[in-house]
């Protein structure tokens, strides 16, 4: 990666494309802005692109289709821009392999923050965190439904999770039997909603334990590892 990461911005709306390209340029990125998928493909082939910002709703080939193409041919991270807040769009977008999404109208600062999170993760050699959306994880009699952000118990009753609890639970479910330090957990869970996770990890852990442990005082699922952090002591199956 060069000094200034190269972003490819794909949006058919000039009124968004141009000021956003300017803003991103001012914030230390090299930006190539194009207005449709065909042009984007050309640029992807010709230039070394570090990250793609992609509008979903475009005439001609839409953003989701282009996103799938990018994922099939490369490892370039993708952030989707969407004007629709319907739940289904989020899931579809993330199943197409996008790394993140922002809802229009979005704060350009937040977009930059998310771009940086992705670059930091790529630089650290981290895996993509996004693929799980839409999936269900099963462990120790519990189901974690990522689409609805809920835990489902053995009786089939849903226990909805707060955003922070969900992010933490997902971090554990995707890394079972691994010891995760507080810093690691903070890093993983902040990927998506940076500002929604201000309270200490320990606090969230104890909330989660209250929900899933048979006896929260003597946890057998989310165990404390002295000096290390926490681990989910259960086998997880992805359904």
């Amino acid at each position: 990666m060069s000094e200034r990461p190269h972003l490819l911005l794909v949006d058919d709306e000039r009124s968004i494309r141009e000021p956003l390209a300017q803003y991103l340029s001012r914030n230390g990125f090299r930006v190539t802005a194009v207005e449709n998928a065909a042009e984007a493909r050309t640029r992807l082939n010709a230039n070394a692109i570090d990250l793609v910002i992609l509008d979903i709703m475009m005439p001609g080939e839409d953003g989701l289709s282009l996103c799938r193409h990018i994922r099939e041919t490369s490892e370039i991270p993708v952030i989707l821009l969407t004007a629709r807040s319907e739940e289904t769009d989020r899931i579809v977008g993330l199943e197409m392999g996008a790394d993140d999404y922002v809802l229009k109208p979005f704060s350009p600062r937040e977009l930059v923050a998310r771009i940086k999170v992705i670059f930091r993760r790529v630089a650290a050699g981290g895996q993509r965190v996004t693929a799980p959306d839409g999936a269900t994880y099963a462990f120790a009699g519990w189901l974690l439904k990522t689409q609805e952000r809920t835990l489902v118990d053995e009786e089939g009753v849903s226990l909805p999770l707060s955003t922070a609890e969900y992010n933490l639970m997902l971090a554990f479910a995707t890394r079972p039997n691994q010891v995760l330090s507080r810093d690691q957990l903070l890093d993983i869970t902040q990927g998506r909603e940076a500002n929604a996770f201000d309270r200490a990890i320990d606090n969230q852990i104890s909330r989660l334990r209250k929900k899933i442990e048979p006896d929260p005082k003597n946890p057998i699922l989310i165990k404390t590892v002295w000096g290390g952090g926490y681990t989910l002591a259960a086998d997880v199956r992805k359904l």
Binding site: E13, S15, I16, P19, L20, Q22, Y23, M57, L81, A83, R84, S85, E87, T88, K104, P105, F106, S107, P108, R109, E148, T150, E155, G156, V157, S158, L159, P160, L161, S162, T163, A164, E165, N195, A196, F197, D198, R199, R207, K211
Partner: protein
Amino acid sequence: MKRVRLWPRSLVGQIILLVALALFVAQAINFALLLRERTRIELTSQTAPAVYRIVDALENRDRRNFDDRDRRARVQFFTARPAVSGRARPDVERRAQVMFADVGLDVRSVRVVEDRRPPPMRGWDNFRRRADRAMAQDRPVGRLVMVAEYEPGKWALTQSRLNGSSPRFGGWLVWQTLILYAIVLAPLLWIGRRLARPLRQLTGSAEQFARTGLADPVEERGPGDVRQLTMAFNAMRSRIIAMLDEKDRMLGAIGHDLRTPLASLRVRTESVEDEAERARMSETIDEMNRMLEDILSLARAGRSSEPAQKVDLSALADAVVEDFVELGSPAEMAESERAVASVRPQQIRRALRNLIENAIVYGERAHVSVAREDGAVLLMVADDGPGIAEDRMAEMMEPFTRLEGSRNRETGGAGLGLALVRAIMAEHGGTLRLANRAQGGLEASLVLPA
């Protein structure tokens, strides 16, 4: 106390009950007429023998060698008017008069009574009963008594047995009625079911449609007119669905088209130099976006694609409150028992969020708790504000109503919050309840069927 319902509510039930009643009444009338006719025939058939016995007895009265004692015994002679009791039978009297006249006997008067008291049993009857057990049931239960004044001051009296209506006659009637019921009601029942089943399906489909906005077309079957009704219903259903789909598409397009310029504006605000001005601009844009979101949600209410599922509403409320707490908002959750109900969790989250936002904006702080109350689960959001005047409660739930006198007038939103909550509740078969708390503040409750 539950009233016993004698009148069935269903069409088929009513038809069958009516037909059964009508059949019964017809049978009863039939039976009464038959019984009357039978009695009349019996009486008149007894008239002639009685008349001839009297005539015969009078003719042979003077013969000394009258040896037929039995025949003579059957007619008794009196020189004073014999006392008879029973129901007078003028019809038989008239007939007897005519008969006496026919044989040339000039009687001064004829009196006939029907005596329904059982007669004293004679040896002959006993013998007959013993000989033929089957006849026992035909034992006479009454007498026809005829008194003729054949000469002034002289009377002749004769009695004939009357057979009572046999008990078999009643049994026969019951059987006949039952057979009639079977013949008439069986096909009726069949037609009724043929009618009722498609009607029931139609009702079910209409109810489901009203509740969820989604329903499969109803299978067209049954009699012609029901089939036509089903076809009409299906056509209506398709049209409504098409209209709703069109509405959703339109709203989606409006949403997209409005968000794009908002997004453009939002990006441009970043180039405003003045920090405070920039913050205000982006706040306004966020506000517009929230209003747009609310309007679209309200317009889409009742057409949720989210399936209902069993949810622990205490955990749900806890998760929603926790999200507020995470952002530093003054909200708190009281320890609550597990309370499971079948709901659409995203929608209930939305409704609860709206109530908590209101509580924080208008009432400083949101106290959230979950309780069970006869078959319902209550999600209660109480605040520390001034509450709402009783006469404005209903008004608050209408779209675009905002509380004036709010200290945060500039953050009032579009006034769609409670309207949206109410729409979500309606979709769940629940209600939104607003009440002022005794200790001050407002309590807004989501009442959900458990």
